[in-house]
């Protein structure tokens, strides 16, 4: 795709003309978000260096990367707050950065928590944002009440936002992003500073939206939340895409399920014998900790079966713990490969 001859707000060059702000590809048809060779520099700093990705309606696509990877810059370009230096970004067939109508289809959950009028109630905040999203007053009130219920804030809805906990404000931000029922949801590090229960609730709400056909772009540095949540992932590191594919494929880059096994003094076997005992179901390697070995399971093999085989071979197993989760290992592997 080459969007260089199209201006902000124009429709995607590969599609037929669309009604202003109304274009919405059917689920699974054209991508809801399409980013091609996107670049953005801030002075000498290149925040994005040729990033490309696609997200379809109903998908949760994670953008994984450490601080400074370019995740927030990508989000800000998609919602029109920053112009790209080069490349193109389309949301629902419309080039980002165009007239305000191009933002009708976008709901943003920002990473910061300073995005509300703290002296107003959650309800009044939502009514206000509903109205500037184009709802009439009565409709905005009805929608605000619905959204408060959806994010479990009905009871706190009439209290000033200044009295909300961090998690409540994040849920309110999530609710605000849903006010106008957007086709695309951009979620920027929504869970990075939430407790596990609050983070799980935000992920559940996101999954619910995706199931209703919304395309979700989920920027995060929390690797552990991807499994079972996002379908696809783009790993960013210093503005460069290091990996793009399914979460399962990323996990596979990490080399399978690995455990650190502690061996007791009554162990009567050595590494070679244990390797032989694990033939076909896993492999054993020395671990960095003394008195421990690293057990890598073959696909589909249960940990119990492997430990039984080790015990039968004369190992006294005193402890067993997960090594780094495979996605984390994969992330480190793909970013290290780029650095090398």
């Amino acid at each position: 795709m080459n969007g260089s001859n199209t201006g902000p707000g124009s429709t995607h060059p590969a599609t037929l003309a669309t009604v202003d702000g109304e274009a919405r590809p059917a689920h699974g048809a054209l991508p809801a978000i399409e980013v091609d060779e996107l670049r953005r520099s801030f002075g000498a700093v290149e925040a994005l260096r040729g990033v490309s990705l696609e997200v379809r309606g109903g998908d949760i696509h994670a953008v994984l990367g450490p601080n400074g990877a370019g995740k927030t810059t990508l989000m800000r370009i998609l919602c029109g707050l920053v112009d790209p230096s080069a490349g193109s970004a389309y949301v629902m067939d419309r080039r980002t950065g165009g007239p305000p109508s191009t933002r009708k289809s976008i709901g943003l959950v920002p990473s910061g928590d300073r995005s509300f009028y703290l002296r107003l109630s959650g309800f009044d905040n939502l009514v206000f944002f509903g109205r500037i999203n184009g709802l009439r007053h009565r409709a905005a009130r009805v929608r605000a009440a619905e959204v408060l219920e959806a994010v479990s804030l009905t009871d706190a809805g009439r209290r000033p936002v200044s009295t909300y906990s961090h998690g409540m404000q994040k849920r309110l931000a999530f609710g605000r992003a849903l006010l106008h029922d957007p086709a695309v949801l951009l979620v920027d590090e929504a869970t990075h500073d939430l407790d596990p229960a609050a983070a799980a609730q935000v992920r559940a709400l996101t999954t619910e939206r995706a199931q209703s056909g919304t395309a979700v772009l989920w920027a995060t540095q929390r690797i552990e939340e991807l499994a079972g949540f996002a379908e696809r992932v783009t790993v960013l590191d210093r503005g460069v895409v290091c990996f793009e594919g399914t979460v399962a494929a990323l996990a596979a880059e990490g080399g399978g399920d690995r455990h650190v096994v502690g061996l007791g003094p009554r162990t009567t076997t050595d590494l070679a014998a244990m390797s032989a005992a694990l033939s076909g179901i896993g492999k054993i390697q020395p671990a960095s900790d003394a008195g421990h070995v690293l057990l890598t399971l073959a696909p589909g093999v249960s940990l119990g079966a492997a430990l039984s085989a080790l015990t039968a071979a004369g190992a006294e197993v005193t402890s067993c713990r997960d090594e780094r989760p495979p996605i984390e290992r994969a992330f480190l592997a793909v970013t290290a490969a780029r650095a090398a």
């Binding site: 702000g21 953005r40 801030f42 810059t73 800000r76 919602c79 029109g80 707050l81 920053v82 112009d83 950065g97 007239p99 305000p100 109508s101 191009t102 933002r103 009708k104 976008i106 943003l108 920002p110 910061g112 300073r114 995005s115 509300f116 009028y117 703290l118 002296r119 107003l120 009044d124 009514v127 206000f128 944002f129 109205r131 500037i132 999203n133 184009g134 009439r136 007053h137 905005a140 000033p160 605000r176």
Partner: protein
């Protein structure tokens, strides 16, 4: 046209938001009114020192200093407050962190600016008019009732001029993140050459020449003519004819300056930075 109507429909949402925010700061609201009332009282005492013969007459009516200065104080205060509020409206959103949340909605940035200033554009003149009325009733200001409507029309033509200046200042503030000082100096200069506190005749000749084209001075003198001299529509007509084109130019220049400043922020990616 449809887009304009849709954008205009959002302005009441800003008005409601700012009314609720103002009501949440009741002490500040009352304190603000008290400060202005004390200022009025101060001028009431100063008025005892000023000989009416040192002041101009309006439509043959010799004005007392209290009437003279209260009209000037009210209009100068309205101008200053509006300029400050309009220019800082976007900066305020930037500081409290809500600007990006507003700009990711399908709302035009100019609507966000106008909406954020709308409450003050309406409320500040109304509040000052009420104050003037209260002072008139309690401290005995001698105003002509038939000058009220012409004054309102004149000031209605003047307020967009201040809004336009405010938009230009808002562009400067969005670009440089500072500007309150410059705005303060600009308002002091306009105030000095407006005849708000003393007759323009006391100024050096060359400043008088500038003052005659100063929209603040035109608004003040026209209002004095209507309210004090009871000249009705005859005294405000010339002022209206001068202020309407000046206001139109100021608003146009303001919109252009503000949009240019925002476009620069989008290009630089610094809109959310404070």
């Amino acid at each position: 046209m449809t887009v304009l109507v849709a954008e205009a429909r959002k302005i009441p949402a800003f008005l409601r938001r700012d009314l609720l925010l103002m009501l949440s700061y009741r002490a500040a609201f009352v304190g603000d009114l008290l400060a202005i009332a004390v200022q009025a009282m101060t001028f009431g005492f100063i008025a005892k020192l000023v000989e009416p013969s040192a002041l101009p007459s309006y439509n043959g009516v010799q004005v007392g200093y209290f009437e003279f200065v209260m009209v000037g104080v009210v209009i100068a205060t309205v101008s200053g407050l509006l300029l400050q509020k309009v220019s800082m409206a976007i900066r305020q959103e930037q500081m409290i962190g809500t600007l990006e949340s507003l700009l990711v909605t399908p709302t035009h940035p100019t609507t966000v600016q106008a909406g954020s200033a709308a409450f003050d554009l309406l409320f500040v003149p109304v509040r000052m008019a009420v104050l003037l009325l209260v002072v008139a009733l309690t401290l005995g200001l001698d105003f002509q009732a038939d000058g009220i409507l012409p004054s309102i029309v004149l000031l209605g033509c003047f307020v967009p001029f201040v809004w336009g200046l405010g938009l230009i200042a808002a562009g400067v503030v969005v670009t440089f993140r500072r500007g309150a000082g410059v705005i303060g100096v600009a308002m002091a200069m306009l105030g000095l050459a407006s005849g708000a506190f003393f007759p323009l005749g006391l100024l050096p000749q060359w400043v008088q020449a500038i003052a005659e084209a100063n929209p603040v001075a035109i608004a003040i003198e026209g209002t004095r003519g209507a309210l004090i001299g009871g000249a009705g529509w005859s005294d405000v007509g010339t002022g209206v004819l001068i202020l309407v084109p000046l206001s139109a130019v100021a608003v146009l220049a303001g919109v252009v300056a503000f949009r240019a400043a925002l476009a620069r922020e989008y290009r630089n990616g610094t809109l959310g930075l404070y």
